[in-house]
């Protein structure tokens, strides 16, 4: 969720294998007024509104990060394939190792989910980006869809190298005293613990229907959570809100938990676990 080189480097030094950047668009964007992020009983609710410094200003951050040899997945968002292609080429030139196409942000008008719910558009954008770049392309999809399989299929047909599932779940919090939604955007995206079963289900459904690499995300805070995502079909995972729940060294902690789980279950290679829940 970071957009500056320093904090991405700190995350990496705390055990992350790679860094996904904040989603970057063509122009600087402030996002929505506060309140934009609050904590609820079982998760985090946010509608930051895709704030980012814009692709031109972002160059410096990537170049700084590259100096430390950190694998970077550049996340981008646009309103059509032309914007996505422009952003993808720039990110590639800056030196990122892979691209993530954000077609799933639930709270930004004209972007994210508003594109990611249309199978034709998803295929179009993915294939245009794939044609104009040489690095791996991942498509990040939303759980707020009734046609999640169709969308994942479209991404595959557009030659995506993988699917990232899931982005946040549309949600709302109303303050009882003021009788108004707390977030300035009213509707936000729910993340953290509460959404893990939704993420697991989405990864499972995609794995069951489509032959493609899946990166699991949503509610991961422990090593067991990662193992569950692997069993559902993921071959890599991302962690966001877990940084709040367990600190910046959540990555180291989770790695150790995975290793001890594997030891106690006589697993030598974690890839043995990918998709084992599908029988």
């Amino acid at each position: 969720m970071d957009e500056d080189a320093g904090s991405m480097e700190r995350i990496f030094n705390n055990g992350a294998g790679a860094i996904v950047t904040k989603s970057i668009g063509l122009k600087p964007r402030d996002g929505y007024p506060n309140p934009t992020i609050i904590e609820l009983e079982h998760g985090i609710l946010n509608a930051v509104g895709l704030p980012n410094p814009g692709i031109e200003n972002f160059k410096d951050e990537i170049l700084t990060l590259k100096k430390s040899n950190i694998p970077i997945i550049g996340s981008i968002f646009g309103s059509d394939s032309k914007e996505f292609v422009t952003l993808a080429k720039k990110m590639q030139n800056y030196g990122v190792n892979a691209l993530e196409l954000n077609m799933s942000c639930p709270h930004a008008k004209g972007y994210g989910l508003e594109i990611g719910c249309d199978p034709d558009l998803v295929k179009e954008i993915t294939s245009q980006v794939k044609k104009s770049t040489k690095i791996p392309i991942f498509v990040k999809i939303s759980p707020n869809l009734s046609n999640i399989i169709d969308i994942a299929k479209s991404a595959k047909e557009g030659n995506a190298d993988g699917i990232v599932a899931i982005n946040t779940v549309k949600a709302m919090k109303i303050n009882l005293e003021l009788k108004i939604p707390v977030l300035s955007n009213k509707i936000g995206g729910y993340s953290g613990n509460a959404i893990k079963p939704i993420g697991i289900r989405c990864v499972y459904e995609i794995k069951e229907n489509i032959d493609i690499q899946i990166i699991g995300v949503g509610g991961i805070t422990t090593g067991n959570d990662v193992i569950e995502y692997f069993m559902a079909g993921a071959s890599a995972v991302q962690i966001g809100s877990g940084i709040y729940y367990r600190g910046v060294d959540v990555f180291k902690k989770i790695k150790n938990e995975i290793i001890s789980w594997m030891k106690s279950h006589n697993i030598d290679n974690i890839s043995e676990l990918i998709g084992v829940a599908h029988k």
Binding site: M1, D2, E3, D4, G6, S7, M8, E9, R10, I11, K22, P28, R29, D30, G31, P33, N34, P35, T36, I37, I38, E39, L40, E41, I44, N46, V48, P51, N52, P53, G54, N57, K173, N175, E177, L178, I180, V182, S184, S241, I243, Y244, V248
Partner: protein, 259 residues
Amino acid sequence: MNNPKVIEILETITETTDVKTIKFDFEGDIIPGQFFMIWIPNIDEIPMSVSYIDKKVKGITFKIVGNATKELFNLKVGDKIGIRGPYGNGFSIIGNNILCVAGGTGIAMIAPSVESAKKRNINTTVLLGVKNKNELFFENRIKKTGANLFVSTDDGSYGYKGFVTSLAKDIILNNKFDQILTCGPELMMKKLLEISNNISFQASLERYMKCGFGLCGQCCIGKGLRVCKEGPVFDETTLKKTEDFGVYKRDASGTKIKF
């Protein structure tokens, strides 16, 4: 829980033409230098240092700079605002003889720091720097603690004429301080660090904030230090290593803005 609690304003105090204090019921311990996220319904939610720390009542003191602070200024006793926090680390006072230097609205959070130091019988010298006499507040409050107080104004309309850092320079040379605490414009604090003679030093920084609890990455400086979590108070060792200090901050989009 990092979710605003809605409370009614208990008391408002007009400090200057554009500086106001708002007090509200809030139980719990707070360290001077910590801050709240203040939700002004339908407008914005902004970080504000705690300026009054009583057992059951807390206060914030702020200056009108834009829309949110203007709306907050116009609120009356009984109006509702949302509070979450306290956030951040706060000052940790070291030694028996300290110097507190505040510029502008930095006075708001220096005042409870001075009160807490004096309560612990720490010898405290306070420098308050403002543009002109009309912008000064909390003068009597700080005098009452028994601290040695000096005021500087840029235009000489009251006290020492010139920047508070020039005043500080002489005072640092002629005393043996164990520690310097400061809050104010970042260039002022940077200058102060330069003339601090390697005295133990703590400065409270301001950065654009969204979550306030360490998740969104909006407020980061240096190598991923979150001003809302690891800060807002940083010591001289960290500040000297942090290339952003006194050089740039980031706006709401994350774009770098030079000071």
